[in-house]
Symmetry: C2
Subunit: 430 residues, 2 copies
Amino acid sequence: MKKAFYHCDIFTLDQEKIIKDGMIITEDEKIAYIGKMEEERLQDCEETYNWSGKWVMPGLVNSHVHIVMNILRGVGDDMLLHPWLTEKIWPLEAKFTTDLAITSSKAAIVEMMKSGTTLFNDMYNPIGLDVFKLYEAVKDTGMKGNLAYTLFSNDKGDKAIAKEAHDIAQHIKKDRSLIRTTVAPHSPYSCSEELLRSSVSIAKELDLPLHIHVSETEKEMNDCLREHETTPVQYLAELDFYEQPTIFAHGVVLTDEDVALLNEKGTSIAHNPISNLKLGSGVADISRLNSAGVNVAIATDSVASNNNLDMFEEMRTAALLQKGTHKTPEAMPAYSMLKMATLNGAKALGYEDTGVLKEGYKADFISIDPRDKIHLQPLENASSHLLYAASGKDVSDSVINGNVVMENRVLLTLDEERIIYDLNYYYKTL
Amino acid sequence: MKKAFYHCDIFTLDQEKIIKDGMIITEDEKIAYIGKMEEERLQDCEETYNWSGKWVMPGLVNSHVHIVMNILRGVGDDMLLHPWLTEKIWPLEAKFTTDLAITSSKAAIVEMMKSGTTLFNDMYNPIGLDVFKLYEAVKDTGMKGNLAYTLFSNDKGDKAIAKEAHDIAQHIKKDRSLIRTTVAPHSPYSCSEELLRSSVSIAKELDLPLHIHVSETEKEMNDCLREHETTPVQYLAELDFYEQPTIFAHGVVLTDEDVALLNEKGTSIAHNPISNLKLGSGVADISRLNSAGVNVAIATDSVASNNNLDMFEEMRTAALLQKGTHKTPEAMPAYSMLKMATLNGAKALGYEDTGVLKEGYKADFISIDPRDKIHLQPLENASSHLLYAASGKDVSDSVINGNVVMENRVLLTLDEERIIYDLNYYYKTL
């Protein structure tokens, strides 16, 4: 089926030049035409959307998030990591039911859709939850992404955990919905060596990417040096971690050897600037990673350490932090950052033909209507406004895999009002 | 005239406790009652606003901004200071007309009102502009703030500049509108010693606060040490700068002696975290200033280096940066930051009885309706959401000096659509 989105200004991110008064024709999940407005092309389109005056750009890619945690927004802020986890997060997570987790995940998907994310990369904590049911409930939301069972060593025993992770990953992979999966051991410090090795085996067997938290804090680095006499990045290399495509969340504390290894192995970093600040971890030097050739993507982490899923804020913060820490406004210019939050994210997650707008690529894009927004004036300098002035709340429409999932801020695939009601209902059960 | 705003949850910031199902009665410009909802109090109110479900907090105070520059949003990003000023900002500013400046200033006031600011502290560059006409045009917008003529040494000669600054300040002071003024020499490095001394004289004569950029960059510190053999903060002390209430914008680079002097003299710092990052200046250590007893307020600077005037983003960034740079989530907790962006701002600007919600204080407050906003769920933990999840775009209503200036995001005192039209018209003349 062909759809036309037309009379809009298009930021393809395939080139810096903007297509003024442009047009995108989608055919099923792909872009069939992108270029100047050509009236006659509307004739063979079944659906037509006059997006006059709107700005269109690739959908944003949130490369590291924990959607099940959306119900925990604001339950503990300004606290040190240990009391935050032991007094706030873990006791509440222990009360999670599968139905609560489904509502919380849907709330996160609503929040991502409404703020311009079209692809996400999740890790979720499965303790006590029916992970198959959770997957079934979120696979048809219209959102695209990776849902992954988080492996970490606990009372269940590593073998049982690896089996559960294997079975759900195999199920999701066979299902071929818009939701895919990764193999996601929590971190080098929370998994036994055996569990890390099992993760690599599952990833190889099912040909899936690996997704893991690595080098988030100085403490993690120091503990690893003491215990394994090497850095977290190099410890994982010893466990054959790099034989599958791999996404490392954080990478705040890295040695030069670590950076060289990441580049050599083609590992991606999911950079979570706001979470890293909020938890007091510091600022990852993504300028160094970028210069070294490492693929850097942008992410929000969960709302428990952010506290929202707005990728516009995230990429703005990422760009600003590099300028501030490197003490030059030339660090991390707008176009580089917009690519990190789109194309680099899609690359990191293993989604081909995604993240820029060109013919043959996936039809994942969003629109912003700047005309009535005082903070996006003057209307010139639009690419600057997208990075430095806009917010997720400015997003008007969202198209994922050729499907219109949001039109003028109304979601078409999810009942937002009901999800808000349910989330508050379940919060009271905690 | 009495007005009632009721059935709302109130964050007074006079105490951490929230007033649930509360009520504010205003009488003229002041708060006559604040507390639990009491139905019978509605009877003698001429206007009543049912704010059921809304959150109410003091209006935000933007303690350093350049409203005339709003038309320059996005004209130059990711550039070093010198080429940015000489190739982009100054050539465009040279083309400013008074009518353009009026539209640009009104656009800034619209943007501030729509994002929850109820009090601002401006500096504007008057070259070639009719400053009296500019003041007349913005004094009746319903917004409260300081408009100040920026003194800096140029071809006009210091005496002529000081006279202009004196005359406009005297005029604004006599006029007693919602717009007040300060005496605002640009910076220690752009004003001659004579002009700095003249500024102090004018401030003393008219009993006005002083507002100046100080210690923004390492370069400024080093140049000052070389030229004056002392720091910018101590150089200004030698010129009797601290005899009037004084607001220093920036204060990124300060010695321990500077901090002690600021505390001793009661000088306020207007902290501009996003502008300081974006221009590569670094991160001001406001935790150190706060601990030392210095009054720290929050500010956006102009849209040319931000690129918006959203004080919610600004205070969130300010809090996050302290956690990230001090490497602890306990740095700058939510309640402290909310007070910096409200009460401390009002204190810095010399507005008494402003910045917290209590009886006898000025009726400057805003509301947010969280009920349909997915990023403000669950509805509990609201004070965390105000700092860590909300945005200026979430603000629903704004009351300034007892006047409702925005109702459900519609401005009542300014024609937003016309201002957007005019701003784009004038942008094309540049």
